[in-house]
């Protein structure tokens, strides 16, 4: 189990490489669609990278509900806690 700050840092790396966005734009409040210009397919790709990085599994219906980076961080932490 990692601290929230570690997950946020790891998220910044994943998002910067998957979405080609500046790391500074990746904040917990940043919205995938509006702020990071990620469409639904790109979000799927981000989730795949998160699954790989954190060794977790995220279901399709859970992906559909993700709106912000903070929500994704919480989801990763919850998955790790459950695992």
């Amino acid at each position: 189990m990692q601290a929230k700050e570690d997950v946020v840092e790891a998220m910044k790396e994943v998002l910067a490489s998957e979405l080609n966005v500046d790391q500074e734009k990746v904040t917990v409040d940043a919205r995938f669609k509006e702020d990071l210009d990620a469409d639904s397919l790109e979000l799927v790709e981000v989730v795949m990278a998160l699954e790989e990085k954190f060794g977790i599994e995220i279901q399709d219906d859970e992906v559909a509900g993700l709106k912000t980076v903070g929500e994704a961080v919480d989801l990763v932490l919850a998955k790790q806690a459950a695992g």
Binding site: N20, D37, L41, V44, M48
Partner: protein, 413 residues
Amino acid sequence: MRRVVVTGLGAVTPVGIGVKSYWDAIIDGRSGVGPLTIVDSEGLSSKVAGECNDFDAAAMLGAKVAKRLDRSVQMGLVAAHEAWGDSGIEGTTDRDMTGVVFATGVGGIGSLLAGEKTRLEKGPGRVSPFTVPMLMVNATAGHVAMTYGLRGPNFCTATACAASNHAFGLAFQMIRSGEADAMVAGGTEGALTPVSIAAFSTMMALSTKYNDRPEQASRPWDTGRDGFVIGEGAGAMILEEREAALRRGARIYGELAGFGQSADAFHITLPAEDGGGAALAMNRAMKSAGVQPEDVGYINAHGTSTPQGDIFETRAIRKAFGGHADRLAVSSTKSMIGHLVGAAGAVEGIATVLAVREGILPPTINLHDQDPECDLDFIPNVARKADVEVALSNGFGFGGHNAAVAFRKHHED
């Protein structure tokens, strides 16, 4: 009858990115064929290719856009962007009456193979959700329409090495018939993968004798030819209804005056020995343009540098042109850039329309010992000044597809 003119050009080729560097190189007789580097050539019998090594997709399209596109789509988009900008059509055309026909031989097979590699190594759940939009053959046509908001006809031709000529032909027919007022037409190919090169090799289609002298490997009509050199790249044209182009004061490169197509109905990969199908396509292109064989001064041949194909095309030209064949100038720009497969006709059409406009015919390089069975004037090694009124560009594809496009010099009156 509505007439169709060429008002914009774009090219990504092994001799240069952009129409100017492409044209300068081919009238200078420079080869863009080099050692095969884009994939590991270990074990492959053909180690030469026409690669677009100066192509930088991230710099030209932006990293975020480029990452989601197959290499073939990246090159097609760059060519289309150049042509669109070159034409000055932006803001002057009804977007509902402006469309796209973009060709490719095999589309994004590199992306398909990358997806399969991921599936095998990491499992089906890790296959990128972008695999389908990257591999599909119609991706370039879709992206061009999205970029410029073009809601007119939108189509992809995939008739192997004839595909780009079919794209020009279909776009020409759409404008002539009134279905569209303007079209982005062209083709792209970015399929230099180990398996495609291995597959062309085992069918003995590729050159294998010149691995140590790549620039000499593509040598149409020369007795030393031993197969084609595979290449990659893209070409695009903006085609417009002539009156509309004149009204907006467009710079007109030439007229796309006619199109002819046929099938050999003979063999799935070998061309017909008598050239009959190819001759039909050339005859139909001339009829469609309303010209006689005597009006034609230049042919940009299919001329792939295969032992048989070059002979059969010579026969086809003799069949279509009769006695005038001896007064025609014919060249193969594939001698300099290799065979761009589904994009071949696109970049060769650009060479053809520029040859007519500039009065300079690009040469066939590496032609030092002409095959006696290929007995036409092939403009050996050095470009030639010539005033040409009408020129044809030939494209023949596996499957027996033949497609010829006729370009005519544009006169204002």
